[in-house]
């Protein structure tokens, strides 16, 4: 008799997924899969469209990180135009990217994961959400909403719309920053600093009570990929990629967007619409790696801003080499959010930030181009080919959730083995299995995007494939 436990949908995720846990005849966990259940086809239906349409079309892949797709797409277009964007445009885009990182990290930490962290993995599912957090800890509930608002409002001040702004275009941005908007952003900084520090303090107070989760939340050696500057500080918008091995040794460095497309491959597993990304020279699955906040902090030597550097030093005390448990993505996310607020302050101090020259123009000068950036949840690469008239003939996108796909699946298996024993489980235990996925903060909208709906069921199937028992939550 074999049993399968299905968690469907995995809730409090940016998208939907399913988890299945397969038990052997003794009721022990044999295997586990994380399924992404939808596919949308942007790579195909963009064919035939003019390349300059791509940023605003591609932004519709994801409403949580539309800015990531806007920027990666615009950079791919600029590679096709062979154009360098004006300094002020580059700075404004960096600020836009920081604002999005802060709002997305606030969403992941407060709205999606803090119910587990603050109310408890075993707490009542009916209140295990942001409203429950706001009732139990009003200060933190409001800090989360406030920090997300901070990022979203900056995006609105720059691009006149919070979600799917048309402000980023190939060559730069459409409008310069006004003095009034700069001053408004400056006036928002003190509250944002206070909110992110409150989160860091609260997290550090509770982190120790999750020792068991830290042990089994995708806690294993792996390779790590992320953008880095020449001075080895963290980077989200420019720089080049570095890939390190489990000991922290560099496998490949200075990887440009174009090089990425040569060495990064995508494998398919029959149970997921999200592909499994890997480093080709090492093959699949050995060439799998992790991306996002934890890998970024594992890779860099500094953040480049004083307060975040102090937090990075504290974070890195955890281990001499790369930090392995994906539970620490939460902590890394907050360090990055602090960096984001500091970096926005720094960018606003640029004497040229109000300069009116924010857009370069050019036609098609190359028939192929790629652009890469760090999305909140990890590296994003857009790669396009066009004809002489600038019509898209081919496109490929590699998104963060694809890079982390292998690690998420292994992490689900690791935690299922710890929390499902002898065919028995509790809802709190299964919530922990889901929480592994939440720690990665996968953007399923980006990764093709999921949807499926069934109750949480544990099904017992006999050897003839007949369902003999079923437990429904």
């Amino acid at each position: 008799m074999t049993q399968t436990i299905t968690i469907d949908p995995v809730t409090r995720l940016e998208g939907h997924g399913k988890i299945t846990i397969m038990l052997d005849s003794q009721g022990q966990v044999e295997d586990a899969h994380f399924h992404v259940t939808q596919v949308r086809g942007f790579e195909k239906f963009s064919e035939g469209r003019p390349f300059y349409e791509m940023p605003s079309l591609m932004a519709r892949i994801c409403g949580i990180c539309p800015v990531s797709h806007l920027l990666a797409s615009a950079k791919a277009c600029e590679a096709i135009m062979a154009v360098r964007i004006p300094h002020t445009a580059a700075q404004l885009r960096r600020m836009l990217n920081m604002a999005q990182m802060v709002q997305s990290h606030a969403l992941s930490f407060f709205h999606l994961s803090s119910p587990d962290l603050l109310l408890g993995m075993e707490s009542d599912p009916r209140t295990r959400n942001i409203f429950g957090v706001a009732a139990a800890r009003p200060d933190l509930g409001l800090a989360g909403i406030g920090l997300r608002r901070f990022g979203q409002h900056i995006i609105e001040l720059l691009g006149s719309k919070r979600i799917h702004t048309g402000w980023v275009v190939p060559g730069g941005v459409t409008e310069p920053l006004s003095a009034a908007h700069r001053d408004e952003i400056l006036s928002m900084l003190p509250e944002a600093f206070a909110n992110v520090k409150l989160a860091l303090t609260a997290y550090k107070q509770i982190a120790d009570s999750f020792k068991q989760e830290i042990e089994v939340f995708a806690n294993f050696p792996s390779n790590y990929l992320g953008l880095i500057n020449e001075d080895e500080s963290i980077e989200f918008t420019d720089g080049a990629l570095r890939l390190i091995d489990p000991t922290g040794t560099i496998i490949e460095d200075g990887m440009t967007a174009h090089r990425f497309t040569e060495v990064i491959g995508e494998a398919v597993e029959n149970y997921s619409y999200t592909k499994f990304v890997y480093y080709k020279p090492l093959g699949y699955p050995q060439g799998s790696y992790r991306v996002g906040p934890l890998p970024r902090l594992n890779i860099v030597k500094s953040m480049g801003t004083p307060q975040a550097d102090a937090e990075l030093a504290f974070f890195k005390q955890m281990s001499a080499g790369p930090i392995e448990s994906s539970f620490h993505y939460h902590h890394a996310r907050l360090v990055e959010a602090l960096y984001g607020v500091e970096n926005i302050e720094r960018i606003l101090a640029d004497p040229l930030i109000l300069d009116k020259h924010v857009r370069a123009t050019a036609g098609v000068n190359r028939l192929e181009g790629a652009g890469q950036i760090e999305a909140p949840r990890g590296t994003l690469n857009h790669h396009y080919k066009v004809d002489e008239n600038g019509k898209i003939t081919w496109a490929n996108l590699v998104v963060a959730t694809g890079h982390n796909n292998k690690a998420m699946n292994l992490g689900v298996l690791q935690s299922a083995k710890a929390y499902v024993k002898d065919g028995k489980f509790t809802p709190g235990a299964l919530n922990r299995v889901e929480a592994v996925i939440r720690a990665f903060d996968p953007c399923l909208s980006c990764s093709t995007h999921a949807f499926g709906q069934m109750p949480l069921v544990m099904t017992l199937v006999n050897a003839d494939g007949e369902v003999v028992d079923q437990l429904i939550r």
Partner: protein, 177 residues
């Protein structure tokens, strides 16, 4: 007055409409005094409740799962709101219609893959041939266009629907807004 039960549902959309819903920021807590969010990607319910007062649905209908889902939502909801242009008119997801699912799947999992090329088929749902807006499957009570509808639109429309105040959607938002 007992609180109204509200669900938010995610079909084939980009989640931007849900994010715009969250963009109500602190007003979310005010709204929570009038409504209970009983089912949504942001809460932990796994099963669509038997009786919901208002269901807001994002996204078009693109897979067999979406189709089963929208029918279930309709059967258990007093009022169904098509939230955003994808739900209202198909929008971006329907751009794959002239191409068809086979070529979409081929491109992603055969041509653009470098290992284990195959079309996923275990647990993942089958794609429908044509992506369509939700009113082609079920009756829709309120259309809330926009890509996405703004947070102000959500707040004004929801408070009006909950309190019974008059509501003029066309004054709030439009297709493509």
């Amino acid at each position: 007055m007992s609180k109204l039960k509200v669900a938010t549902v995610w079909l084939d959309g980009c989640s931007g409409c849900h994010m715009s819903f969250l963009d109500m920021d602190e007003r979310l807590l005010k709204l929570a005094e009038l409504i209970d969010i009983v089912y949504s990607p942001i809460v932990d319910a796994k099963v669509f409740p038997d009786e919901v007062d208002i269901a807001l649905v994002e996204g078009a209908v693109a897979s067999v799962d979406d189709e089963a889902k929208i029918k279930k939502v309709r059967a258990h909801s007093k009022m169904l709101i098509a939230m955003g242009d994808c739900a209202v008119a198909g929008n971006v997801p329907s751009m794959r219609n002239p191409i068809g699912p086979e070529k979409i799947l081929d491109r992603a999992y055969i041509e653009n893959a470098s290992a284990q090329q195959q079309i996923p088929c275990v647990v993942v749902p089958k794609l429908l041939k044509i992506v369509r807006p939700i009113h082609e499957f079920v009756t829709v009570d309120v259309f809330l266009p926009g890509c996405p509808p703004s947070a102000d639109t959500f707040y004004t429309a929801l408070t009006a629907l909950v309190t019974g105040a008059p509501l003029d959607i066309s004054a709030l938002t439009r297709f493509g807004a």
